[in-house]
Symmetry: C2
Subunit: 202 residues, 2 copies
């Protein structure tokens, strides 16, 4: 098309590949960047390359991290007896924000999903079992904190089954129920049902 800039179109094409960004938003972002000073665009580009080049994964827990082991695994003050099992690294960051958990993590990097051809060997379940088998870690609680969807549930059940033979390892899961600050009126039936089934003594 006459009058368009090939360079602009290339930038739009690249930006449109990002999640949540269609061609219209990509165009808006590209035109926005054109108005910025050189430095801020270079900062952005460098941060993206740096993200890909310098970031690593903790070989113990699997979280994305600036170093290996990650700051959590190498922190002697964290309780080594507790492992919280999550699906992705971002779940670790979310849980850390709550300040409720002082143990360590295990990132599966996915959940079992037969429909997507993801079996138990495609996620880091073996590595979890290895950590539990290693005597020096002395795990006494595995907290399952997977998403409450069918894949997350199936993965939780699978891990629970694997851990059955370990008499000294307690398997728990985070509570699923009514979120804080909402009204019952706005809660779906599945959540409300779960909240009843999981009720605690007051």
């Amino acid at each position: 098309m006459e009058g368009t800039s090939e360079i602009l179109e290339q930038a739009i094409e690249q930006l449109a590949k990002l999640p949540g960004t269609g061609r219209k938003s990509a165009r808006r972002i590209a035109l926005f960047l054109l108005k910025q000073n050189d430095e801020s665009v270079i900062n952005l580009a460098e941060a993206l390359i740096n993200l890909k080049k310098s970031i690593t994964r903790c070989s113990t827990c699997g979280v994305i991290s600036d170093g290996d082991p990650c700051s959590i695994c190498q922190n002697a003050k964290r309780q080594t007896g507790q492992i919280c099992v999550v699906e992705e690294s971002q779940d670790v960051f979310l849980i850390e924000k709550t300040n409720e958990f002082r143990g360590r993590y295990h990132v599966l990097g996915g959940v079992i999903s037969p429909l997507d051809n993801i079996g138990p060997d495609d996620v880091r379940i073996k590595q979890l079992m290895q950590r539990i088998n290693e005597d020096d870690e002395q795990i006494d609680e595995v907290i399952l904190a997977l998403n409450p969807d069918s894949e997350g549930e199936a993965t939780s059940y699978y891990i629970n089954k694997l851990l059955k033979p370990f008499d000294d390892v307690k398997v728990t899961r985070i509570a699923y129920g009514i979120p804080m600050g909402t009204e019952l009126e706005f809660i779906d039936e599945a959540t409300l049902g779960r909240a009843f089934a999981s009720r605690n003594t007051f």
Copy 2:
């Protein structure tokens, strides 16, 4: 915060500066990029730097372009007698897509907006007058295609006033009215009123 990656946070911070991208979407984009191969992230970063470094503006019409003059201004087949005045470069790309206009453009780079301290000298109105004053271009029609908001309207009136002394230059504006493919029921009163005031013989 323990457990977060400084490199990841830097990327999120940079991405969150983009329009339409909050910290949550920035985080989603960063984690998405981490899953991509090195090449695609480098392609994106290079496209952004290239966008900023290599793109230029046409010194005649002001459109963002890979070269100066732009492909439209240097195309001998375009009618040199018609100039379409638009606010931003993206308007040029939109109008080009319609294939309705074969003249040339003039990008103001903004509109007059006293509330934002943008006066006539802050947009490329002087350059437009220069183009019209230069004899070799022989402009016979200036088509105003600014947005139908108060700033666009004010700028249109201002340019029309400046062009009044030029008897051989016809000033027109694109039609504002009911968009194609909609029903009157869904049209706001201002648009419907404008459509009546601007009615044509059938």
